[in-house]
Each structure stands twice: as C-alpha cells, then as structure tokens.
C-alpha cells in the first residue's frame, strides 16, 4: 500500500485550547507526504472515532496538554475498538508525565512523543509503525 499517501488524523481532545504542537506535527507530517486531517479543538473521543471512520485513516495522532490523557486515551481506544477500528494505531503527544507512559502503552497507545521530540523522528516512527504490519494488525 506504499503507492498511496498514508492518511493520518491529528486529534485534539479535551478542553485545552493550545494546538500549536498539534499544528506543528500536522505540518511536519504533511511535508513528509501524509494526508493530514485535523479535527480542530475540543473534539470528544466519539467525534474522533467518527471522523476516523468517515475519513478511513491509517493512523491517529492525539495531542493532549490538559492532564486528562489517561481518561481520554482509554475512552478513545475503547470506542475505536467498539467501532471496528481497533487496528488503527494511536500515538500520543503533548505533556505526558513519565510515570504515565508505561500504563498508556499497556493500554494500547503505540508511542508517546513529549516536548523536544524531533518531527523527523515522529514522522519516521509513524511510517515504520505503518510499514510493519505486525505492529499495525
């Protein structure tokens, strides 16, 4: 499937209204050849899942700075599964305390990118994630 651009949903759940990080990642992914769909601010998990279904995306990137990442990610993953989209990998970025990373990954989040993560790294890891079916499926 490498002969078509990957489609990625950049999602901004919860109440924080700071999306500079999400936009930087969206722009980096765009420049790396992804088709990027951005939800806009304050998308609830159910909106994100509905958008992922409609847009038939390959991967979802979630940006969270509010501290509500544990609850919102759990809800998102649960609803993805319920809508038959459990195979779509989800990565996370923003302000995520180190102690939360392992539990989030255990929950099903594929990768967590904190402050200082390089956009080159983010794009490469997502590409690897998608190219490796063992991880995707």
């Amino acid at each position: 499937m490498a002969d078509r651009p990957y489609r990625v949903l950049v999602a901004k759940p919860g109440l924080d209204g700071h999306d500079r990080g999400a936009k930087i990642v969206a722009k980096a992914l765009r420049d790396d050849g992804f088709e990027v769909i951005y939800t806009g601010l304050r998308a609830q998990p159910e909106h994100i899942v509905a958008t992922a279904v409609d847009e038939d995306v390959d991967v979802i990137g979630v940006s969270l700075l509010s501290g509500a990442h544990n609850r919102l990610c759990a809800k998102l993953l649960e609803q993805l599964e319920a809508e038959g989209m459990g195979h779509v990998p989800v990565f996370l970025g923003g302000i995520i305390p180190d102690d939360d990373i392992a539990p989030l990954k255990a929950l099903g989040i594929k990768e967590v990118f904190g402050p200082g993560a390089s956009t080159v790294d983010i794009c490469r890891k997502i590409r690897d994630m998608l190219a490796n079916p063992a991880v995707v499926d």
Binding site: M1, D3, R4, P5, A26, K27, L29, R30, D31, D32, G33, F34, E35, V36, I37, Y38, T39, G40, A43, E46, H47, A50, T51, V53, D54, E55, D56, E83, G84
Partner: protein, 326 residues
C-alpha cells in the same frame, strides 16, 4: 479488462447500499487507491445512482466556502434531508502530503448521523480528481445522501473541471477582493448557476452584487440568468435563501427539458476522461518497461534523432489494447 470484484469489494458495495458508514468510507478509499476494484464497485452500484441533488461550492481561498457548506448543511438538515460532503484540499506540489482542514468549520454537525463528510486531496490531479469526485458522489448517492455538497479548493482551472460533475454550481464571491472583474471574465463566471455574495455584512457586498448583475446583463444566451444571493454566516436566513436558489436551479434543470442534453454532456465528459486516463496509464506503464524507449532517449541525447521522431517511433511500435491483452 475489468478485474474480478473481490469478496471484500462486494461486502463494501452491499454495506454502502445498506447505509453502513464504515463501508462508505472504505468504498471511497477504493475509489482513491484501487483503480481496478473501483471499476468493479462502480459497475455494481451504478444503476442505483442519480437520485441525489449535487451541488458544487467554489470560490477563492478564504471566500467562506467551508463556512457556507456548514450553514447550508444546517438548512438542509432542518428540512429533514441528509447530507454528504466532499471537501477537497490541495496536495503539495512538492510531494504527496496534504493538510485537509475543512472539518474544522463543520464541528456543528459532528454529532449528526445524517451528515457524512469526506476530505479528499487533489493528489496532483492527473485528470483523476474529477473522476474520483464523480465516483465518490455515486457512493454517497447509493448510501442515501439526499444532498451532496462538493467543496472545491480555491479557484483555478481544476475547479472548472470539478464543476462538470455536479448539477448546480455555486460560486462564492466576497467584497474587498478588488474589482477583479477581469478574473471573473476568464471563465469561472460562466460556470456559476448561483452566485453567493458572501460576507454580505461587510462593506462593499452590494457593490459586488451590482458588478455581477452588470456582467450577467452583458452575457448573452444565459437563460434564465443565475440567481444572486447575499449570504452571511451571521444570518441563518440567508442560507435558507441560498438553499432555495439551489433547489430552484435544480427544478429548472429538470423541468426545462434541458435535463437530457445537460446530462449527456456530463456523461460525455466523463467517458472521455476515463478513456484518456486509461490510455495514459497504459502508455506510462509501457514507457516504464520499454527497452527500446530507453534506447530512443539515448539517441535523442546524442542528437542522432529529434524528440518528435523518437515519439513517433515509439508510437509506431506501440501495441493497441487488443494486442496488449493477448
């Protein structure tokens, strides 16, 4: 030529007919990515199409197309009808990337199961975009959308192409864009069935409307003249007027007997495009694998023959499709 429909495509086709959202989404992906299965899918659903009212929304970047689509969707939903939205944004000329941002204006409808939106990237067009839009319209139609709104990228030549695929074309104009009547003359003016003078709450909106009226008065042979509607997102009633103008245009199309001639022209355009796209794909494939073509390049590089003769030589030895099949 047609490849066999896979089990997966058949399941998706049936799912679309049953109104399953995920099936529709997957069907659109097939249209975008799998030319052979696309053909099988469209063959399967085609006889059930032609029911929906299709509307194109075009205009320059920032004219308010997304906001208008959002408001128009609200007006349609208030009449109890369902909406499918195709939002097109440009692919980078330097790669395959695209930022598809039209959803941000559509957040009013994100809880509404009666609205389905899909973002499409232009993907370098290659003439294929309007085909993808046509086929996406078909799937929306079969899925059960009453209205299908196609929001184009900012104006240019490609929009004229895309507009050949819808019944009613709305051209969005705004005040403050300068007295750019010259750019209007260049063709985009001719494709509008309805003019929406958007941001009508701003100074100069009436002036734009007068300029359009003046242009239309000079233009012969356009009967009846397209409606001009003043719109603003600040007043929902203006969106109802826009919807009324769209519906009135559609009625005229169907009553006027012009229906068949107009439809034939659309279909003619589409079939030609499919033929050209198929030939282009065949030739590209052949060029990529042909040793004699590689040799011709060398000949031209060494100035032994000219590029026109090289092309002629290649084409002289080019197999017709029948030969290529066997």
């Amino acid at each position: 030529m047609q490849d066999k429909m896979t089990e997966r495509t058949l399941t998706i086709a049936k799912g679309i007919q049953e109104g399953k959202r995920r099936a529709l989404a997957q069907g659109i992906s097939i249209i975008e990515n799998e030319p052979d299965q696309r053909q099988a899918l469209i063959s399967y659903v085609h006889e059930k199409t032609g029911r929906a009212c299709t509307v194109g929304i075009t205009g320059s970047p920032g004219a308010g197309k997304s906001s208008l689509v959002n408001m128009l969707t609200k007006a349609i939903r208030e009449r109890g009808l369902t909406v499918g939205i195709i939002a097109i944004d440009p692919t980078s000329p330097f790669g395959t990337g695209a930022l598809l941002g039209d959803r941000i204006r559509m957040s009013d409808h994100r809880d509404d199961a009666g609205v389905f939106m899909r973002s499409l990237a232009t993907r370098g067009s290659m003439g294929g975009l309007s085909l993808a839009v046509r086929d996406t319209i078909r799937l929306f139609d079969v899925y059960g959308a009453d209205f299908i709104l196609v929001e184009t990228v900012g104006t240019g030549q490609t929009e004229v192409d895309v507009m050949g695929v819808v019944d009613t074309t709305v051209l969005v104009l705004t005040p403050g864009a300068g007295d750019d009547i010259q750019t209007l003359k260049a063709g985009i003016m001719e494709i509008a069935d309805v003019f929406a003078i958007n941001k009508a709450d701003l100074d100069g909106a009436q002036k734009v409307a007068r300029e359009v009226e003046g242009m239309l008065a000079l233009q012969r042979g356009v009967t009846p003249a397209p409606d001009i509607v003043m719109t603003t997102v600040k007043d929902a009633a203006t969106q109802v007027s826009l919807l009324d103008a769209i519906c009135a245009h559609r009625e005229r199309l169907q009553e006027g007997g012009a229906d068949s001639a107009w439809k034939s022209a659309q279909v003619d355009g589409e079939i030609r495009e499919i033929i050209l796209e198929t030939l282009t794909r065949d030739v590209k494939k052949s060029l990529a694998t042909s040793d004699s073509y590689r040799a011709l390049i060398e000949e031209v590089v060494r100035c032994r023959i000219d590029p026109y003769s090289a092309a002629e030589t290649f084409l002289a030895g080019y197999p017709t499709r029948d030969e290529a099949e066997t």
